[in-house]
């Protein structure tokens, strides 16, 4: 990998490789926690905090962790930080903790965090990994806030609780529910694809089940495809 400047590492995650909208990672929290701007923002910040901390620790330990057991090691580090975030939220912002609920512990299995550990932190220095974490964290938070803005404005006519649209048009409740989430995400992704046409390598299809573990379980994926091919042939 060629040497990249610190600034490009930082901005990489915000636009060019936005984790939610371009790399299509971490779809579950992106859809589930964006029924309002505040929830999306809280989720984005929590995930960013975990991402930055785990990136720093994993890149500091990258020479010590044996290659064969690296995934379990990463999971332990990440789960530790998630527990820290969980306890902090429970203590200081109980309202946010209650509304995010299940999705706080599920940060552990968020593809973005494990993916960045596998793709970036175990190959780069501590400072670079921290910057990458900050950039990716901002990018994820930005995507969640965009989603939250659209869904809250159309769904209940407010933005962060400020009444904006609901004087003119009644809220469309569907946007706060599951179908609205899928629909908003689809439109946003299509919009990003339209803006960056030809310029970026938007993922046209999911890799290994859409998760960021491609590099570690790519073999299985190929094996799987080969088998399905054989099955079709037979």
């Amino acid at each position: 990998m060629e040497k990249k400047s610190k600034l490009s590492i930082l901005t990489n995650g915000i636009i060019k490789e936005n984790p939610a909208l371009v790399l299509v990672l971490g779809t579950c929290p992106t859809l589930a926690t964006t029924s309002s701007v505040a929830n999306g923002f809280g989720m984005g910040l929590s995930a960013a905090a975990v991402l930055i901390c785990s990136n720093i620790v994993i890149s500091a330990l990258r020479k010590i962790i044996p290659d064969k057991v690296r995934i379990p090691c990463y999971i332990v580090v990440i789960a530790g930080f998630v527990t820290v975030v969980q306890l902090l939220l429970q203590a200081y912002v109980p309202a946010l903790y209650a509304s995010l609920g299940l999705f706080i512990p599920l940060i552990v299995v968020n593809c973005i965090i494990l993916g960045r550990a596998e793709m970036f932190a175990n190959k780069n220095s501590v400072v670079d990994s921290a910057l990458d974490g900050v950039g990716m964290g901002i990018g994820f938070t930005f995507a969640l806030v965009c989603m939250g803005t659209v869904r809250e404005l159309l769904g209940s006519g407010t933005w962060l609780g400020i009444h904006i649209l609901d004087h003119f048009i009644p809220g469309m409740g569907i946007f706060n529910l599951a179908p609205g989430g899928f629909f908003t995400f689809a439109i946003l992704m299509a919009f990003v694809a339209f803006l960056t046409k030809d310029k970026s390598k938007i993922k046209k299809d999911f890799g290994c089940a859409g998760c960021a573990m491609e590099s570690s379980c790519g073999g299985e994926r190929k094996e799987l495809e080969k088998m399905l091919e054989e099955k079709k042939g037979a």
Partner: protein, 193 residues
Amino acid sequence: MLTSLIVIMISMVLVNNYPLAQFLGICPFLGVSNSLDSAKGMGIAVTFVMVLATAATWPIMQLLYRFDIPYLQTIVFILIIAALVQFVEMFMKKSMPALYKSLGVFLPLITTNCAVLGVCILNITNNYNYIEALVNSFGAGLGFWFAMMIMAGVRTKLVDQSRMPESFRGVPIILITAAILSLSFMGFSGMFS
């Protein structure tokens, strides 16, 4: 007792369907649904691992309560699931090669599937007893499988070959399909009042 189990089952398969209503397990739902074969394999493997993971994590949680350390839930659960999946894979490879060929390849993908960790944690937060927890996980798995099959069917018949604006090709059009599916599954939400 039996009625409550049936209610849990039906509500997990139809009303609170994991990928379509609760946004759990979206990655495999969108990623592996490109053919009926792989959707079936993934669905069965997820159902199997969900029930197994619940069978293992529920008793452990009682142990955590006993020692007054329930805040370790997240870290303990994910380690148990990861170890369990690894063991199942090794066991299958060794003693059931035929089954391994059809299911085993999906297993490594499941460790980081949020639906599996999600169902284990939800069983605890909903205060289910052991039987209810197992039925709940089985229902969640069936619901996931069901949604996967519908999605794969729609995709192979309609979505992947259709003409559409270039920007929508790939992931966005799958998400639109999911939105329509999820809209139709909302019809089930009136079943229990």
